[in-house]
């Protein structure tokens, strides 16, 4: 239910926006704070370019959204930036060739979600020939609709990890007033430093991109939330802001999951996204800093989204580093350029240690949402024996959404999914804070996910 009339304050505005003093949210955990969240392994290393390999594997699907329709077939010649997969439906995004070369196959290949999915395999001819459709544009002369179309054409998706098609986010219904554009520079996951490096190395793209989007919606203000452990990024970005830009950088307490959308919006604006609702319902659009920088860069250069900064890190990577990687490079190639894996590697994770996806092998292709490749040893990630729930309620304290994970999990384990639904299982954002903190090592996240899936199936 959308809030059409902003004059009457709905229940979920609990503070005057200008008076938000709290810089943190209720709940949350501090994973790996004893080793500085693992960020010291890579946060001071400037991102280095990883040259694209001989074989590039471009999956037609990312994480969220329907698979794109392939536009090329075996034997076709493609150029860098050429559209090779077309968005299929509303929640879907375009896919482009990230190198020039020849299409070898269109077949199922390992995907970071752990299964094989349809992908276009290109043989790189190393000529880096750019497609004719790659034409720089003057972003400041474009209308709102033209920008949204350009974002859609460029295949821009949420680069925080969920890969939601960005052009859909930029198309709220006509009767909705957007008051704030929020940029998510929190990067609350331990180990990951990709967004941090992006803010340090491309601050102008971030700020200019934000200003463009703010103009599109005639907003009250733009806010960039950055965890206070990235003071250098905060300072640098602030130096690019002029008085009158209506842009504010807000330092946030380093706590997980500070970057979770609902928590971020609440801390920055005082507004709460209604349960089951979207940020646009309360007049807010949230974008990852990487996504905004990509919007600005792709429109001004004409080159669609073909690469990103990611962090290859963890105790089992020989030389952790931040890389600039073209989509279609495999995880193994990224790892190799960082010295390779140590023998005691037990898990390779796409993303961060709290919400990332464990990989069965290192053959998956990097996609737009791959923010990091993490290699951990057995001791750090060992699957402990499950103990009895002692009802210590650490999970209740940790949950940023105010759920009682021990109840949901107990109901789910007993197969009572209706009961789990009553306990608001569907409001879980799957941040994993509860499971991280559980002293009995219970698989809370797993049970809750199972319940959510069962509830979704039952709702169909």
């Amino acid at each position: 239910m959308l809030c059409a009339d902003n004059a009457t304050k709905p229940r979920f505005y609990d503070k005057e926006e200008n008076e938000v003093k709290k810089k943190t949210f209720k709940g949350g955990v501090h994973p790996l704070s004893h080793i500085y969240h693992g960020k010291s392994l890579s946060e001071h290393k400037a991102a280095k370019v990883l040259e694209p390999p001989k074989e590039i594997v471009i999956p037609l699907s990312r994480i969220i959204g329907k698979e794109a329709k392939p536009l090329v077939k075996r034997g076709d010649l493609v150029k860098k930036g050429q559209l090779i997969g077309e968005a299929d439906g509303f929640i879907s995004a375009n896919v482009h060739a990230t190198v020039s070369g020849k299409v070898l196959k269109v077949e199922n290949r390992p995907h970071p979600t752990g299964i094989k999915r349809l992908a276009i395999v290109i043989e790189n001819d190393f000529k880096e020939e750019v497609a004719e459709t790659v034409v720089p544009k003057d972003i400041h002369a474009m209308s709102k609709e033209e920008i949204v179309q350009a974002v859609k054409d460029a295949g821009i998706v949420g680069m925080g990890g969920a890969t939601f098609p960005t052009h859909v986010k930029l198309m709220p219904p006509k009767d909705v007033n957007i008051d704030y554009i929020i940029l998510n520079g929190a990067e609350c996951e331990p180990y990951l430093t990709a967004d941090h490096r992006l803010m340090l190395e491309h601050p102008q793209d971030v700020i200019e991109g934000l200003k463009v989007i703010m103009k599109m919606f005639d907003v009250k203000a733009g806010k960039i939330g950055i965890e206070s452990n990235k003071q250098d990024a905060i300072d640098l970005l602030e130096s690019f802001i002029e008085v009158g830009d209506k842009v504010e950088i807000v330092p946030l307490a380093p706590k997980y999951p500070q970057g979770a959308e609902k928590q971020l919006i609440h801390v920055l604006t005082g507004r709460r996204v209604p349960a089951g609702g979207l940020p646009m319902e309360i007049g807010v659009i949230v974008l990852n800093v990487g996504t905004v920088a990509a919007i600005y860069k792709s429109i001004t250069t004409g080159m669609p989204l073909i690469e990103r900064i990611l962090t290859v890190t963890g105790s089992c990577i020989k030389e952790p580093h931040n890389l600039i990687v073209r989509f279609g490079t495999t995880f193994q190639q990224c790892i190799d350029s960082c010295g390779g894996l140590l023998d005691e590697t037990a898990k390779v994770i796409s993303g961060g240690p709290m919400m990332g996806i464990a990989q069965p092998n290192t053959d998956a292709a990097v996609i737009a949402g791959t923010s990091g490749i993490l290699a951990l040893n057995k001791e750090e990630t060992t699957v402990h024996d499950i103990g009895n729930c002692i009802r210590c309620a650490r999970c209740v304290d940790a949950c940023p959404i105010g759920l009682v994970p021990l109840q949901i999990s107990a109901a789910s384990d007993a197969g009572r999914f209706d009961e789990a639904k009553k306990y608001n299982a569907m409001d879980c954002v799957e941040c994993g804070a509860c499971t991280f903190i559980c002293p009995a090592r219970r698989r809370l996240m797993q049970s809750i996910r199972l319940a959510k899936n069962a509830i979704r199936k039952a709702n169909k």
Binding site: V29, P31, L32, H34, G114, K262, H266, R272, P274, A275, G277, Q332, L341, D343, T345, A346, K347, I349, P353, M354, M355, G356, I357, A358, Q359, N361, T362, L374, L376, E380, T381, V383, H384, G387, N388, C389, I390, R391, C392, A393, V396, I401, G402, L403, V404, L406, Q407, N424, D427, G432, A433, F436, I437, C438, P439, A440, R441, R443, M445, Q446
Partner: protein, 315 residues
């Protein structure tokens, strides 16, 4: 790739604190009070505590093995129960009474209901209640410290109940543990130190101890003709400190929600003062905690935290 990779659901890292080291911290927090108790009551006190702890652990080990249950004594939960029970006994009890108390606490209250995390009341307190019911004389024979079962005397709270005045020196003795009473209950300072240690280590939360103690103080002040000294006596005596910090805060039998914890603390406080004031018993801590324990599922149900963004949608 020669290394085999593990695949499991996120999250992939875990906090260091586990059940075992939580229980170990509780034991550490109880050691000062144990030490004081042994100092004032002698070697027999050490024997009683050792007996209750050992028999609790042994009983759990036997049951886990005999019924082939998951879990292990390594999580130290049985040790904590045994230790707490021992600290709640008078030094004058026969050794076999101590052992039976542990067996009842572990076998009946805990294991018969499903083991760790499934006891419906605090096992140590239930064990003590069982012993008081079966051997009331032995359980209420209080020994003067340093005399070794020759001179019995009334506990400070019994003195309060009898309406006799309390000297400040008695309050001081109650604080350091030089009064007759249970082995580990007597020294408020040692127990408080342990309690604050547990709060600092985030093992227990401030809500239950704070509301319990404040409620007892305030209510006994109001009902006790606004007498400050007797209110302090109520706080320092009768096992309130050990009850508030170590018994009422037992995870399994206390509410999981923040508001629920406040309700439990206040409820325990009210019950304790009412039992002390209007019944023949001079001590109400154990019964009030047991009574609140059984209310916990109800409290949990009515105090569920507000879900983020919970909106009552109209039409």
């Amino acid at each position: 790739m020669s290394t085999k990779l593990f695949v499991s659901s996120s999250p992939h890292v875990f906090a260091k604190q586990n059940t075992h080291n939580i229980m170990l911290d509780v034991i550490i927090a109880l050691l000062p009070a144990c030490g004081v108790g042994i100092y004032f009551f002698g070697a027999k006190a050490a024997l009683i505590i050792a007996l209750t702890t050992f028999s609790a652990v042994a009983c759990e080990w036997i049951i886990l093995k005999a019924f082939n249950r998951p879990g292990s004594i390594k999580d130290l939960s049985a040790a904590v129960t045994g230790l707490l029970l021992g600290m709640n006994l008078s030094v004058g009890v026969p050794w076999w009474v101590a052992v039976l108390g542990s067996v009842f606490a572990i076998a009946i209250v805990k294991q018969a209901f499903g083991g760790l995390g499934h006891n419906f009341v605090n096992p140590a307190l239930a064990g003590r209640a069982f012993l008081v019911a079966c051997w009331p004389v032995a359980m209420t024979t209080w020994i003067q410290p340093g005399t070794v079962d020759v001179v019995t005397s009334a506990t400070p709270l019994a003195i309060v109940k009898a309406g006799e005045p309390i000297a400040n020196s008695m309050l001081m003795n109650m604080a350091i543990g030089n009064t007759s009473g249970c082995i580990g209950e007597a020294s408020a300072i040692a127990l408080l130190a342990g309690g604050l240690y547990l709060i600092a280590k985030k093992i227990i939360r401030w809500r239950i101890p704070a509301t319990y103690i404040i409620t007892v103080f305030a209510l006994s002040f109001l009902l006790g003709d606004f007498n400050l000294t007797s209110s302090f006596a109520h706080v320092l005596g009768g096992g309130l400190i050990i009850g508030a910090f170590y018994m009422a805060t037992d995870y399994t039998t206390s509410p999981v929600t923040p508001r629920g914890q406040l309700i439990m603390g206040i409820g325990c406080g009210i019950m304790t003062v009412l039992i002390r004031q209007y019944s023949n018993s001079a001590e109400g801590v154990s019964f009030s905690i047991l009574l609140m324990n059984v209310c916990v599922p109800l409290i949990d149900r009515f105090t569920r935290p507000k879900v983020f963004g919970e909106v009552k949608r109209n039409a």
